[in-house]
């Protein structure tokens, strides 16, 4: 079965993880050890530094590796740090980038339409998924409240929430899953016993994406959890790689 990880990162970060991959090549070695075939990745500097620096570092690092697929970190276009909408689209086309990531806590912006309307419109028109981890916050709101706010403002956005945490998040995210067709979750911290099985019975397998959250989290956990979940082979394949491939395939660049 092919594993396509939607949530991996590499590069030197401000806070050193216990184990990490400094370069794209190092990340591939880690993926080989865990039998992970492909990954959607970001560079630690996209989060810990200005995206102006980090986005280019990512693109340069992964250029030679077709198993690694990049995501661009976003900023409000008003400051023009990332250039114009045209330059962003051109870069995405040239470098085959099909996903965005948001780090509003580190980069200090609001995830409202007032701040991000042109980018949100681009994402909706071209089916570009936006990835955000659940620890993010902005403007005094965080977690599922932030996710709910984003989707209230941009209901057609394809949003992938990563690392939702093990301490009982189903009561938070299930109402949102039922309301928002394009909301997806990664499985990096879906540790709940019977969680994936129960979720698939109720909602099907299309809204879950295999993710590990490397380097912060141990990839072995989500791997064996998915391999051993009491779901059909078809559902397992969708989560392991099919759903992410479908999301990336439907991006119109």
């Amino acid at each position: 079965m092919k594993f396509f990880d939607c949530n991996m990162s590499f590069g030197t970060s401000m806070i050193r993880p216990i184990r990490y991959a400094e370069t794209a090549q190092n990340l591939l070695e880690e993926m080989d050890y865990c039998s992970i075939d492909e990954a959607l990745v970001y560079h630690a500097r996209q989060r810990d530094d200005s995206p102006v620096i980090g986005n280019d570092m990512l693109l340069n690092e992964i250029e030679a590796f077709n198993r690694l697929h990049g995501t661009l970190a976003i900023l409000p276009l008003q400051t023009e740090e990332l250039g114009t909408m045209e330059t962003i689209v051109r870069k995405m086309k040239e470098r085959n980038i099909r996903a965005f990531r948001a780090f509003p806590a580190e980069h200090r912006y609001l995830m409202t339409r007032t701040s991000l309307a042109p980018l949100y419109d681009l994402m909706v028109e071209r089916n570009i998924p936006l990835f955000i981890d659940i620890t993010q916050s902005c403007g005094g709101i965080s977690g599922w409240h932030l996710v709910s706010t984003i989707l209230s403002e941009v209901p057609d956005l394809t949003l992938v929430v990563t690392e939702h945490g093990p301490w009982g998040h189903d009561r938070y995210f299930r109402p949102l899953i039922e309301k928002h067709e394009n909301l997806h979750l990664d499985t990096s911290r879906y540790e709940l016993d019977g969680g994936i099985t129960d979720f698939c019975k109720k909602y099907g397998a299309v809204k879950l994406l295999f993710g590990t959250g490397y380097p912060k989290w141990n990839p072995g956990g989500p791997k064996l959890t998915l391999a051993g979940a009491d779901i059909t082979t078809k559902e397992r394949r969708k989560i392991a790689s099919g759903n992410l491939e479908r999301l990336l395939r439907r991006v119109k660049m």
């Binding site: 993880p17 216990i18 184990r19 990490y20 080989d32 050890y33 865990c34 039998s35 093990p166 301490w167 009982g168 189903d170 009561r171 911290r189 540790e191 709940l192 016993d193 019977g194 969680g195 099985t197 129960d198 490397y214 380097p215 912060k216 989290w217 141990n218 990839p219 072995g220 956990g221 989500p222 791997k223 064996l224 959890t225 391999a227 051993g228 979940a229 009491d230």
Partner: protein
């Protein structure tokens, strides 16, 4: 070889005949802040069978609130003696109960020791309110599973070290391995023969298992899942995909636990 035989077996079968897992940190029943698909003892047994877990040592969630509910676990152990053992929860908010509970402990079959949840009960593990249980555990060589968390004023690794200085015969299990304060937790686990690092939740942190094995040794590490919280496959997967040997994995997943609970088994474990 990159992927071990044990890892291949678990990935293919979901379990291993040669490596039957013992879960040293489990619970039972519904709880306040979380939805459980599988909260009953029967649900848990189904999960354990699916993942190759042969025995779970549990404290019921209800007993974390009201210690009278410890008797629930006695019933579960009596009903499923091959699958469960139990910890008796001590709640320091009700110290008048503790003396009586300790006095009657030996009559309660299936209990291998005590469980402390100090971060939630809001008394430090060094509080005199825990002394009757600790003294009894020390006298009898019982297990004491403590919820431990990094830099906690109630149950940090440094506080475990204080207990380890005083109680040399009780087996002190650092639940969650003092999550976050890894260096201190590993040092305490290494320095005190009767202190063990228990992996529940800690296993998620990438690289921490390798660090523990390298510094404290695989014989000081125990496996636990908080079941019905966490799918045992998640924790087992973290152990399997860490850069340690299959011998280390056997130590962590069952051998160390077998040594610890064997003296306390009144009924045979499967």
């Amino acid at each position: 070889m990159r992927v071990s035989q044990l890892t291949k077996e678990f990935m293919k079968e979901g379990r291993s005949e040669s490596c039957p897992v013992i879960d040293m940190h489990a619970h039972l029943g519904p709880y306040q802040g979380i939805y459980f698909p599988n909260p009953t003892s029967e649900d848990m047994i189904r999960t354990m069978d699916r993942c190759g877990v042969k025995l779970a040592v549990s404290s019921s969630h209800a007993s974390l609130i009201d210690t009278k509910a410890n008797l629930e676990m006695a019933k579960v152990v009596k009903k499923y003696p091959d699958m469960f053992r139990a910890y008796w929860v001590i709640n320091p908010n009700y110290p008048e109960r503790t003396k009586d509970e300790v006095a009657h402990f030996s009559e309660m079959e299936g209990f291998v020791g005590f469980k402390f949840l100090s971060d939630y009960h809001k008394y430090p593990i060094t509080s005199p309110r825990y002394e009757p249980a600790l003294k009894y555990a020390d006298e009898k060589g019982l297990l004491v599973l403590m919820h431990t968390w990094g830099n906690s004023p109630y149950d940090s690794p440094s506080l475990v070290e204080k207990l380890a200085e005083e109680y040399r015969n009780a087996k002190l299990l650092m639940g969650h391995s003092g999550y976050g304060e890894w260096e201190k937790a590993i040092q305490v686990g290494k320095d005190y023969p009767n202190v063990y690092l228990e992996l529940c939740a800690a296993y998620t942190v990438n690289g921490v298992i390798e660090w523990m094995v390298k510094e404290a040794g695989s014989q000081k590490i125990l496996f636990g899942t908080d079941l019905p919280w966490f799918d045992p496959h998640y924790g087992i997967g973290c152990v399997l995909f860490s850069r340690i040997t299959d011998e280390d994995r056997h130590d962590i997943l069952h051998r160390n636990a077998e040594k610890l609970i064997k003296p306390h088994l009144r009924t045979s474990a499967r």
